[in-house]
């Protein structure tokens, strides 16, 4: 009994520690990519090519003072960054990185991830309320409305993928894509899913919750030191989680792009990492290119464009599936 628990803890650490490193170097990657796009060098002072920059940033955040605003609700104020960060990590329990390389191969994997990502809104809305500041509260309300709106279209897109795969298990969804990635038949939905994940993770061009020009920094104005750090890490962790989700649903998970012998020899988790990194690069590319959306345009896009399109796609997909079955 004790030994089994120890093994599970060891497995969890094997997932979490590389993930934290990935998150840390995602911030480095982001600064380098945006630097390159804006014809700058990006971080290049700390260590060779600035490679120790994320570690320096982390140490700086840890050594700062944690400030609790007056009249803030202390318990919820501390709880919300912890919640955000935990939710960004526990989604990884069901993500298959390679064939059978997964902590818990549960048969409602897709729904688990969807539930986890829909819980993410609580960290933000609780932070906004608990810090007892107008800016933080307005940012939190915006964020909650935005995340709920885009979850609707994400859910519908997931349903149309599920209709084609016929399973809620993430490993089986990937195995069904051996002949053809779902990217090809579901291409419009892949685009909509990608844009919705941008909105779901509060990234540019939908980073209205932390619009600096109007709300200072949104829900995390009052946070400092590691409590801010946890929000920051949580956001980047969610980016990676959603990217791996779209990798599994549309880009064939760990499967190589073609059935060539050379491609088969490369281990599956490297393909998985490459695909996730490509999607993350798209995230950063979009951030460096596009200006921020106006709030009413964001809501219009979610409810009046994406929702009808993804609903129509479900009907089209299920008709095609029934036609092919007969």
């Amino acid at each position: 009994m004790f030994f089994e628990i120890l093994i599970i803890v060891f497995k969890i650490l094997l997932i979490v520690i590389p993930l934290l490193l990935f998150i840390a170097y995602l911030t480095y990657f982001e600064r380098k990519v945006i630097g390159a796009i804006q014809l700058r060098k990006g971080p290049n002072v700390v260590g060779p090519f600035g490679l120790f920059q994320p570690i320096a940033d982390g140490i700086k955040l840890l050594t700062k003072e944690t400030i609790f605003p007056d009249n803030s609700n202390k318990f919820i104020f501390i709880l919300s960054p912890i919640l955000t960060f935990t939710l960004a990590l526990i989604g990884w329990a069901v993500i298959p990185i390679d064939y059978k390389l997964v902590l818990a191969d549960i048969n409602v994997g897709v729904m688990y991830i969807f539930a986890i990502s829909s819980l993410g809104v609580y960290g933000i809305i609780m932070a906004g309320w608990a810090s007892n500041s107008r800016y933080a509260f307005l940012g939190a309300l915006r964020s909650a409305a935005q995340m709920i709106s885009y979850e609707v279209s994400i859910g519908l897109i997931i349903i149309s993928v599920l209709i084609t795969s016929g399973s809620l298990n993430l490993t089986e969804i990937v195995m069904k894509q051996q002949n053809m990635w779902y990217l090809i038949p579901h291409f419009p939905m892949f685009v909509i899913f990608f844009i919705s994940t941008l909105a779901e993770t509060n990234r540019a061009p939908f980073d209205l919750p932390e619009a600096e020009s109007e709300l200072v920094a949104g829900y995390n104005v009052e946070y400092s030191s590691m409590s801010f750090g946890l929000f920051f890490l949580g956001e980047y962790g969610n980016m990676i989680l959603m990217s791996s989700m779209s990798t599994i649903l549309f880009l064939g998970g760990w499967l190589p792009p073609a059935d060539i012998n050379f491609f088969q020899n490369i281990p599956g988790f490297i393909w998985f990492l490459l695909k996730v990194t490509f999607l993350l690069f798209l995230f950063l590319w979009v951030r460096a290119t596009l200006p921020r959306y106006r709030y009413d345009q964001l809501m219009r896009l979610g409810w009046k464009v994406f929702l009808p399109l993804s609903l129509a796609w479900i009907i089209i997909t299920s008709s095609v599936v029934i036609y092919l079955q007969n």
Binding site: M111, L119, I125, M126, A144
Partner: protein, 194 residues
């Protein structure tokens, strides 16, 4: 082992649902409500009803309770107002609770209410065949109970349309700009150089 887990989580559910009522801050009571939902989902998981557990999380915790929290935070209700209404609403609440309790007793005491007479599928048989939760529930809902399923869907649609009709106002908001009009703006008429 499972039994102890069950007792532990039911204890938490009961405790937190009491706290929903007795906590003075309305935002705290909504948070306890969310905690109750969450633990109810865990109880579903203990009984291997993973589909129901995840649906509970997605629908109630992920969507409905967020909107609750949203409204309660925005209304900013003072704590004294809630305490004043207690005696006024207590008889009504007592009536509702007693109706619910009697219904529960009636369902659990009789053994013939649940299954239809001419049903083809029995949920126990499907589960025993070794199909997973989601599939058996789907087979069950879309065959024997299809009409009831559709009717409940229409009820929800009706509620949605009703809410939209009640909240909709014909007054045009001058601040909102239609993106089509925005696209059709002509450069010559808008920009003037003197």
């Amino acid at each position: 082992m499972t039994l102890y887990f069950f007792y532990f989580f039911t204890f938490i559910v009961i405790l937190s649902s009491f706290l929903v009522i007795f906590v003075s801050n309305p935002v705290h009571s909504v948070l306890f409500l969310i905690f109750t939902f969450f633990n109810a989902a865990i109880i579903f998981l203990i009984f291997k009803a993973e589909f129901l557990a995840m649906t509970l999380l997605i629908v109630y915790v992920g969507a409905v309770a967020v909107l609750f929290l949203f409204v309660v935070m925005m209304l900013n209700i003072s704590e004294s107002v809630i305490k004043e209404g207690f005696l006024r609403y207590f008889p009504f609440g007592l009536l509702l609770i007693s109706i619910f309790l009697i219904e529960l007793f009636m369902i659990f005491n009789s053994d013939k209410v649940i299954f239809p007479e001419n049903g083809f599928l029995k949920i126990n048989e499907i589960m025993n065949l070794g199909m997973d939760n989601t599939k058996s529930l789907g087979l069950f809902l879309y065959t024997d109970y299809f009409i009831i399923f559709q009717i409940s869907g229409f009820l929800l649609l009706l509620a949605m349309i009703g809410a939209i009709v009640l909240a909709h106002s014909d007054i045009k908001n001058p601040k909102s700009i239609s993106p089509i009009n925005q696209k059709n703006v002509d450069k010559k008429t808008i920009i003037k150089l003197n």
